[in-house]
Amino acid sequence: MKVLAISGSLRPDSYNTKLLRVAEELLPPDVELELYDGLKAVPPYDDEDDVEPAPPAVAALRQALANADGVLIATPEYNSSVPGQLKNALDWVSRPLMKNPLRNKPVVVVGASTGAFGAVWAQGELRKVLSAIGARVVDAEVAVGHAHTRFDEDGRLTDESLQEQLQESIDALLLEMHTRALVLV
């Protein structure tokens, strides 16, 4: 099985990307994690551009989502909400709503921020957006607050309880992925 991991931050040294790399280590050996790196190339959504063939960056994201059995998104929080580029990418892939690649796809949302609350508002809004798109949003949360103090030099989480929450979120995602695989047989 495959998990597509999407970081809502474009910064190369992003704490959210670090969180995804920690998550990769928590997956069982038969589950592959693909770290999506095309977010910056997604153009601004324009209904008039939303035709076939889609812009290459959009087509690549749609294909990556279609190939994945589940999705793990780590988001920062900008002005109490979802980063614009992440929301923009989701707006692209959501069209048409009835056939979009996130439809019924298990998705878990986690987040990290340098503030105290670990992007909880952005995570909440992102779950709402994903539900409206038709994704199967997993009921789990990891909020890495003060993110600049939570990773060691090797990128590992220094907080044991956060590590446990991340493992629980991953396990909940895997459960939904396996359940869906059985339903689709």
Partner: protein, 182 residues
């Protein structure tokens, strides 16, 4: 004024199957101060009234839910609402059919999102008529109200005043044309 209860059901004898073209299985729910309506286009129903224990069964395909906007159809089929992928059908099976005065009362279990709850449907049944092809037909109209949250259909959106946009009570109405099997 008195109401008579007659557990000896006076149903027209026979096995009756749904004419899906003329029948409607729909719902309505209060939303944003008005009433929002929809229906299921792919439906089945059967009334078996051959002996002492008549049974009414029915089902509707969730993927056939139909409201006035394609995107709303998609949302209603998603895990936020009926979750068509995991629970492709709504279904009903009666345990008892009785007459109470002018009404027909059908008790049984309704299953939505894989959750079965007891429910009582009330309505009317018409006398059989013979159609243009010589087949007997009856009309059965039944209604009930369910609390959607009891079935895990929990979606809502808060209004500025703190209330919720979508009410929990949903009226279900089945207007069934039933044709007697040969």
């Amino acid at each position: 004024m008195s109401t008579t209860t007659d557990t000896q059901t006076a149903l027209p004898v026979g096995t009756w199957t749904l004419d899906p073209i003329h029948s409607t299985i729909g719902f309505e729910v209060d939303y944003l101060g008005g009433t929002f309506r929809g229906q299921f286009r792919e439906t089945e129903a059967r009334l078996v009234a051959e002996g002492d224990s008549p049974v009414l069964t029915g089902s509707a395909k969730v993927a056939s839910v139909d409201v006035k906007d394609e995107n709303l159809n998609a949302h209603l089929q998603s895990p936020d609402f009926f979750d068509a992928e995991r629970y492709p059908e709504l279904s009903f099976e009666s345990s008892e059919i009785a007459n109470e005065g002018e009404e027909v009362v059908v008790r049984g279990g309704i299953t939505i999102r894989g959750v079965e709850k007891p429910v009582e449907l009330r309505g009317t049944i018409s006398e059989p008529i013979t159609d243009y092809t010589g087949r007997e037909r009856i009309g059965l109209r039944l209604e009930t109200t369910v609390d959607r949250t009891e079935f895990g259909v929990d979606w809502n959106a808060p209004l500025p005043d703190g209330n919720q946009a979508l009410q929990n009570d949903v009226s279900l109405a089945a207007e069934l044309y039933l044709v007697k099997e040969a």
